[in-house]
Subunit: 225 residues, 4 copies
């Protein structure tokens, strides 16, 4: 099951990288969230790095706003940027607070190589390429988390009762986040229409695959605090 | 008279380029605003290009947010970006409406070479250099308009009564805009402290001078609709 | 007559902007070169700014090398960069020497707004967009000069005998430069195939038109030393 | 022992990150090179990723050429770029050939997260910051390899006779590479003089430390083929 139809750009990219995609979305870290067996110190390690990740994720939206060549696109990217720094980061910080992590401590954490790898890969791809390259590099994160959340909630093997990670699962399975991901799927199609063509698929697939592997490496990092 | 003390970075740059600075701030276009003698078609031409300018000005703040390496700086640049696209552009559009220009018409105007020159110079300097280079390239615009507004209001030769450009003069002379400019002067000092040193002055002066000349070329363009 | 077939990307862009293209390639500055009537001080002014232009033209090839994602493309852009800084600039400097301009003097010239406009427009478009956007912004310069050179040599109205600008005309009409332009036309098609599609034509046309107008503004600058 | 005096910028950065620096330069991978105990499959894995690394290293020099604002600096960076793509890559490919790796195979390798992490970190830091930030991010690689080579040759515990990695050690200990590193140390001082000041040390130290850690992660990757 996927939140994107097979004939969307996202659907094509996902199909073209199916092994890597499954390694990411079905990672042991994810299965540990699903049945609640993930050690708490792994989750806390992940949360701290995710905080650092969000800072660069905000920079990626700022980059998108800079790269836009129409006012409507600047406005849309700026809304994404504002949503991250004014809403998502606060939600993240308050979520982390329940796990005993405070913002100053997270801000002072050494950034793990896996965190640097994914964030800088996305940003650098976005600078070297165009808006479509940037969004394709972001898609495994934005859409992947929605697919993971929805899949976990649908999976009878998932244990929600007494699962310490239930709030995390339900956040990404929730309607609000699913909509964010659906909007990203649509944005990819719109950008492909305006800036791409069949000749770009090979290069976009390479980007999508690399970004997907870096998400897997991010889970790996979570398992090795 | 200047809104920046001589020992601020802005004060140093202004002093180092005084002839160019005076050519910009005392330009015939400005004198035409002061006594109301500027032909209306010149002002309307300027307003339309200023609308296109603002779009790239917004992109410059997005670039600053991308270039920030601390969350506080991302937030500050993002607020600047939001202020432009959600407040200033609306103010500008409604101001232009009183001069018979509507937004769709302005958005469709061919961009003048002088508009492209200044906006792309600022953005490209900001990409090639760092945040300090970017802000120094923006300063002649941000701080210069405040100096012009304040100087016109103080100058006994300025005619405010029945001056069709009175609202423009008072907008830039007003407390709100003066504060924006004072914050930019302070930001330049903060960036110089964190990222610069005496060895950078020569290169920053070159940037400041070039940006100032491009402001002069922007006024020239206004006079030649 | 054009050096690119109508069904190449360059041919499409040229056709879509024909009025602007003719204003550029048939500019009074060009006609003054053709009949030798261009005042010498205009030509010298143009040559000095063209020297400053070449520096940023070299930077555009460096940007293309950075933006490449395959080694063959890095190598090709690097060869272009090396050709400019090791060959073309020396040729230009020695050409200028015959007009009484030495390199140190040209390096110290204030950069004209028209020079900044075109160079920074190209570079900034190249950063904000991708390699295809960058090459489309460069094309009016690279291919346009070849078209101008070839057209002048073919035009019976052109006076080559005793024309002080004969060497300039023959340089751009010559086989070597014509090949450079033909390679650029082919590169545009290759990039369009790999990175574009019909949906990009509108945005590429806008870029091509703006760059063409900035070339016209560069000739205007030459006429006003 | 270090190839940079303590009062150079490189010396200061190295001292400020001494623990991280030692973890990198005295890494088990390096010790395995020194006594020849490193498993061949680890070295081959490292060599293949180093090939991919070099491609982005070339892009970093192209970025430096783009970011330069004087012709002399463009030329210097362009020479570095040319040296990598026309000399170093060929040397690397012929060196790898002796280990049974051919270029086409290396070009087709999946890029490891550790390779992406360091290369994209450097490039992205170079885009977001200025030339000094870029060079500080490159320094642990350029200067560190020289320090490692020289230290191994000087260390009585190093076994050169019958060591399969002797050629690698002697390449980086050799006069030619030591000069490259010394030139980089001097370039850092020159850039600090022209673009920096004491207020930048904190941020430069953070960059240097992160880049050093990513070098350590690159060795870790080598050990885990």
């Amino acid at each position: 099951m996927t939140i994107a139809a097979p004939d969307t750009l996202f659907g094509c990219l996902r199909t073209a990288c199916l092994d890597d995609w499954r390694a990411y979305t079905g990672h042991p870290f994810v299965r540990g969230l699903a049945d609640g067996s993930l050690p708490e110190r792994c989750f806390r390690h992940y949360l701290g790095q995710d905080y650092l990740f969000l800072i660069h994720f905000a920079r990626a939206y700022a980059l998108a706003a800079y790269k836009a060549d129409e006012l409507a696109d600047i406005r849309q990217a700026a809304r994404g940027l504002t949503a991250i720094i004014d809403v998502e980061m606060d939600l993240h910080v308050s979520f982390c607070g329940r796990w005993g992590l405070d913002e100053a401590a997270m801000a002072g954490l050494p950034e793990e190589p896996a965190t640097m790898a994914y964030t800088r890969y996305v940003l650098e791809k976005g600078v070297a390429g165009d808006l479509l390259d940037l969004h394709v590099a972001l898609a495994p994160c934005i859409v992947g988390y929605a697919e993971i959340g929805a899949a976990l909630v649908d999976d009878p093997a998932t244990r929600l009762a007494d699962n310490p990670y239930r709030a995390w699962i339900e956040m990404y399975a929730g309607a609000e986040y699913q909509e964010v991901a659906a909007a990203e799927v649509a944005e990819l199609d719109r950008l492909m229409e305006r800036r791409g063509g069949p000749g770009r698929l090979e290069s976009l697939t390479r980007t999508f695959r690399q970004a997907t592997r870096l998400e897997t490496a991010f889970w790996d990092m979570g398992l090795n605090p």
